[in-house]
């Protein structure tokens, strides 16, 4: 009885984690404008490397860089970019979509700037799907459930044979 409950609980929990691992999640979604010498900073927190999409309007270009929370404080305090540990950066791009390797989990800042006049852009940072750790936990739990099921099956076959 106890094992049956454990088996069913694991199945439900595993399925729940699978469902959760596919829930879309936007960390940042913004349409902003930035001009030469200015920066737009966005704080985001990710347990895995995020999926970033940037589109710049009217064939203009922007640059962006991603730093850790500690470095962002230093940058705000006036430290030059060269002294910071840049985790990921791209210069003079019109559009970008991809998953930069940040060594997540952690809290990060993305700073957007431009070399030209006012530039309008759309920024979307999403958690990459499926949510890796949730999916992995779900799969581990379901595998455990399957192992228990197979173990029970082989045990019951053996007992039928012996009978």
């Amino acid at each position: 009885m106890g094992r049956l409950r454990l088996k069913e609980t694991l199945l439900v929990l595993g399925m729940v984690l699978l469902v959760i691992s596919f829930i879309p999640s936007t960390l940042v979604s913004d349409v902003g404008d930035v001009e030469e010498g200015s920066y737009f900073g966005y704080l985001f927190q990710g347990e895995t490397n995020p999926y970033i999409t940037i589109e710049v309007w009217h064939d203009r270009n922007i640059s962006f860089f991603i730093v850790s929370l500690e470095d962002s404080f230093r940058f705000i305090d006036g430290e030059p970019i060269e002294d910071l540990t840049i985790l990921f950066s791209l210069e003079n791009i019109n559009e970008y979509s991809g998953i930069p390797d940040l060594g997540a989990p952690g809290k990060y800042f993305i700073f957007i700037t431009t070399g030209s006049d006012i530039v309008l852009y759309t920024l979307v940072i999403s958690r990459s799907l499926p949510h890796f750790w949730v999916l992995m936990s779900g799969l581990v739990i379901l595998s455990l459930d399957l192992s228990i099921h197979l173990f029970q099956l082989s045990k019951s076959r053996k007992s039928v044979k012996n009978h």
Partner: protein
């Protein structure tokens, strides 16, 4: 003749086995985990951003940034808890209707009261287990999702305030439905009137124009969220203080205890 601890423990085990067979518990916990995860995953939209124009004031921005970083996990708890309230006002009346009110018509109450269990124990166990199951499922859901999506960033203070007010809100909704079940002795009335009353209250009385003396005791969770997350306070155009949270939670707790005492009083005199 007081019941000893063993008797109470045995009664709890019996009630759990009667009213909460295995899939019910797992389903309820699953609902809360999914809602919590869904809400927490959505809070990224509320993350902070700022503009640095040449010659920016680094001190002001740093202060704003620190505050934002510190409140992100509190918000991560606040959002699922606000969503939970909608699940609770649907789930709790249904659970009380099936586990308590239906007992009058299907013979469960008559059978149970023919065993050596006090009426008071039966009633308090039935509503108490609903409170315990729903509240602990919600707490588990929040903890589970926080560990996944905001690991090691839980602000204990905010967590305790929000979870405590969540438990009190569940108790208030459950005790209202318990009284309804005992008075009406009907599962249908308990479920529909219970859900209806709380839905109407939630959509109408939780609005800013309702006087705080009525709103705070009815929705202590809203007061707590407003205290933790300033964006809710902006909506209410009010500064929520810790005193408001204590007043709302305290009066809601007193109200739910009073409703339960009244339910026990009626139930003890009822003919089954």
């Amino acid at each position: 003749m007081p019941e000893n601890r063993k008797d109470i423990f045995n009664s709890i085990r019996l009630e759990r086995n009667i009213s909460y067979p295995f899939p019910t518990i797992v389903s309820i916990v699953s609902i809360f985990i999914i809602v919590a995860a869904y809400s927490i995953l959505g809070i990224g939209r509320y993350n902070m951003s700022f503009y640095l124009s040449p010659g920016w004031n680094s001190t002001a921005i740093t202060e704003k940034l620190v505050e934002s970083v510190n409140t992100v996990s509190s918000r991560a708890i606040a959002f699922p808890i606000l969503d939970f309230v909608y699940v609770v006002v649907l789930l709790v009346p249904l659970l009380i209707a099936f586990n308590l009110a239906q007992g009058y018509s299907n013979g469960q109450m008559r059978t149970l009261l023919s065993y050596p269990i006090r009426r008071r124990t039966v009633l308090l166990l039935k509503s108490g287990l609903v409170i315990l199951l729903v509240s602990s499922s919600g707490t588990l859901g929040v903890l589970f999702s926080l560990l996944y999506f905001f690991p090691f960033s839980i602000s204990l203070n905010s967590f305790l305030i929000l979870i405590a007010t969540f438990w009190i809100s569940v108790s208030l909704i459950a005790s209202t439905c318990t009284l309804l079940a005992v008075v009406s002795r009907s599962a249908r009335i308990t479920a529909f009137v219970g859900m209806g009353l709380w839905m109407v209250a939630l959509s109408d009385l939780s609005m800013p124009y309702t006087h705080p003396l009525l709103r705070y005791p009815l929705f202590p969770i809203q007061v707590a969220v407003s205290y933790i997350d300033s964006s809710v306070s902006v909506f209410f155009r009010e500064q929520t203080t810790l005193f408001d949270v204590i007043f709302g939670s305290g009066s809601a707790l007193i109200l739910s205890v009073a409703l339960l005492i009244l339910s026990v009083f009626i139930f003890k005199r009822q003919e089954i």
